[in-house]
Symmetry: C2
Subunit: 440 residues, 2 copies
């Protein structure tokens, strides 16, 4: 089918939808010149109307409150789903695919939950389902994994994929403020939502990791099947101790291929060496590190959210879909996901991972405490790399901070259980895993 | 044409050719699983035979010394040119295109010189001409500019694109050694060639910049039409002064869109703030920073050379070409270059650029010297931001180092001409431009 003009319908006119409409209308010439295609924004659906947006003028008949005017319009070739949430988005995309429309979505929650179904349906209906904007916003990490690194066995994918957490941790590290104060500030500035749970508890990062793992390893690992830990427990004390030791704390989403061919998957705060590139990714920015068998270490940095960066990725996907339509060949984008989705690769449980640890115990300032803790760790095969204990100020307890050499998580948990039975140890230890090899 | 198996011929079995053959043979299953295509390495051409390579076993009849066995073999679908140089590569690629073969090349010198011709010929013959490996090795910067950022007006592209220079500058900065010593060491380690001219004089970086500019702005700017300056004049003195001021010296290839819609193009050593990501790209690594109108600031990091990283990019290009062949649609890769190649955008001469400068004068230690220099600079509209002059050791001359605010290059050159007439100033100043906005 060689169509002279490709019609686009957008579901959702929020932040990203507005950005997409701006690019499609205001940069129409640039797109057409660069790609030899003509895109026409035919319909934008918004829950309530009338509505206006600064920087973009849409004719009244281009706006509608009825999603069926996009989903069922035979003239619309590409449906761009930007309403978010799972239930409505799922049914609208399914119907659109059944109506032969190509899909572009930024909805990581939807794909993390229903990715396999949707890709199979898209393949059956010979349409493309593009989702670059779902992970790391404007950074083309999806295309890179699917196309540029397709001849690589991916050894690890690891990154800062939640801008809210990175903004909060950067502010905590640069200004001497506590988590709750930075969170309010982030909410005021629009870097955090009114209900920040999805971000600060690591769930958003985990959904993105699910997509990255599907692409890199062809396994579908639902978010509830791996270790997810947010940043709400990170305090200035840890930030400052980490700094003193030459580390920076970042929330990382981590996937690794293990030596026995399993996939390690986890999201948690991580100590990174302060001189590493990833440790220097500040503010609301995202960065993803990929190590490929041939390409070696790579890093991709950019804005992971926001109106225009996300819209940049959505429009690139629209253009890819439009090229598919013009050539009559459905985009290869969903192919990798589908073809690999039947691998036998299993997920490595958190107990089996091997990593270095930062530990901080609050202990009673009494002789022999370090010996007791050290002896339990040693008996559990955990070797201490360095220790800091400072003079106590005015309380009877002190912080005892240590970095370990590489140890197995199972051994660490067993050791902690024993350590907590010591009378001199007050409360649970702060435990933060250290990553040095997957971040550079 | 739905071919069940795509035949590939490689011209050149040097470092990269060897890597490509390894991936095509040893990772054949991975490629086929990820992309649903079957690649067959039919012929590898090498100037002299017999030859063997560690890590790859090719049947004897797969090797030949005759390029015509690739170029004229009707069964070969994709020709991979990895012989380097311009003359032979140009004629072999032309003939291959005329024979209907898709082309993959890593030859930046060839494309910088004959890119337009070859892309037009490829378009005329409906074949793709892919060249991801020509710039920044394993980093997918070509695809990113052509596809992922296609809805962006590119505001700047700027990067470390020569691994040899970056290795030398990193070593100079970390160990206190001079340029010539590091160069010998780099040659021993294989990071620099026996004749390092193309690398250390900035020509290799300039050829890559030509390609990046063609992609970002659709203008063909031959290497001899912009300012190119290598690293041979960088000494420990500059490295150390820069460090003291919080900067790192890197060889950058820089392209910017100016306010009056011209393209600024230049390659030269540059002072970067030490905390910036680009300043922390060490050793033989490459990194490219792109600022797009929608996506904002982005950075792409990886190995810019070497057997397997470059081969990773070449094989990704082969797979893209194979998909084009299977779908019967020639790859859109060359489209952007062609479509934009007739823009009226002109190149901004070096005299017109506006930037900050690092200057070091060797002056006679006498009252009034700073005033004389300062007054000339002031009269030429150049404002001084900071000055360092240290106590002299045992000679009668001292180094007077200054950073300027933003100034026009034309004014700077005029000022220097006047300053050089001062009797107290000995020899030419060391001038290094400072970049802060295009690198992050």
């Amino acid at each position: 089918m060689d169509k002279s003009c490709i019609n686009v319908g957008i579901l959702g006119w929020g932040t990203v939808g507005t950005g997409v409409s701006k690019i499609l209308v205001n940069q129409n010439n640039l797109i057409s010149k660069n790609n030899n295609i003509q895109l026409n924004l035919k319909k934008v659906v918004k829950r309530t109307l009338p509505a206006t947006r600064e920087g973009i003028d849409l004719p009244t008949d281009c706006l509608s409150t009825d999603p069926n005017e996009v989903v069922d319009d035979p003239e619309i070739d590409i449906v761009v789903e930007l309403i978010g949430g799972v239930t409505d988005a799922y049914s609208l995309i399914k119907r659109s695919i059944q109506n032969g429309k190509h899909i572009v979505t930024a909805n990581k929650a939807l794909l993390a939950e229903h990715g396999s179904d949707l890709f199979q349906l898209a393949q059956k209906n010979s349409v493309s389902l593009n989702f670059e904007a779902s992970t790391a916003g404007g950074i083309p990490i999806i295309k890179t994994l699917q196309e540029s690194f397709t001849a690589n066995q991916i050894q690890s994918v690891c990154g800062i994929v939640n801008g809210t957490c990175n903004y909060i941790l950067t502010e905590m590290s640069e200004a001497d403020v506590e988590y709750t104060d930075v969170l309010s500030d982030a909410q005021e500035k629009g870097y955090a939502e009114a209900d920040p749970t999805m971000d600060v508890e690591g769930i958003d990062a985990a959904q993105k990791l699910t997509l990255l793992i599907a692409l890199a390893y062809g396994v579908n690992v639902p978010v509830d099947q791996f270790h997810v830990e947010g940043i709400t427990e990170i305090s200035q004390t840890e930030i400052q101790y980490a700094k003193e030791l030459g580390y920076v704390i970042k929330l990382l989403a981590i996937a690794k291929l293990t030596d026995d061919n399993r996939v390690e998957a986890r999201v948690h705060p991580t100590l990174l060496p302060e001189r590493s590139l990833l440790a220097n990714v500040g503010g609301p920015f995202n960065a993803v590190c990929v190590i490929g068998s041939a390409v070696g270490p790579t890093l991709f940095y950019g804005q992971g959210a926001g109106e225009m960066p996300t819209a940049s990725a959505v429009v690139a996907d629209i253009i890819d879909a439009a090229k598919s339509i013009q050539s009559g060949v459905s985009s290869p984008i969903s192919q990798a996901w589908l073809d690999k989705s039947h691998t036998e690769m299993s997920v490595c449980a958190i107990e089996d991972i091997v990593t270095r640890y930062y530990l901080r115990f609050v202990v009673i300032d009494r002789p022999g405490v370090l010996a007791s803790i050290g002896s339990i760790l040693g008996n559990c095969n955990i070797s201490i790399a360095s220790v800091i204990q400072k003079e106590p100020h005015c309380t009877e307890t002190v912080s005892l901070m240590m970095l370990t050499h590489k140890a197995r998580e199972k051994d660490m948990q067993a050791a902690l259980k024993q350590i907590y039975t010591l009378e001199v140890v007050k409360g649970d230890a702060k435990l933060i895993r250290i990553e040095e090899e997957v971040a550079f």
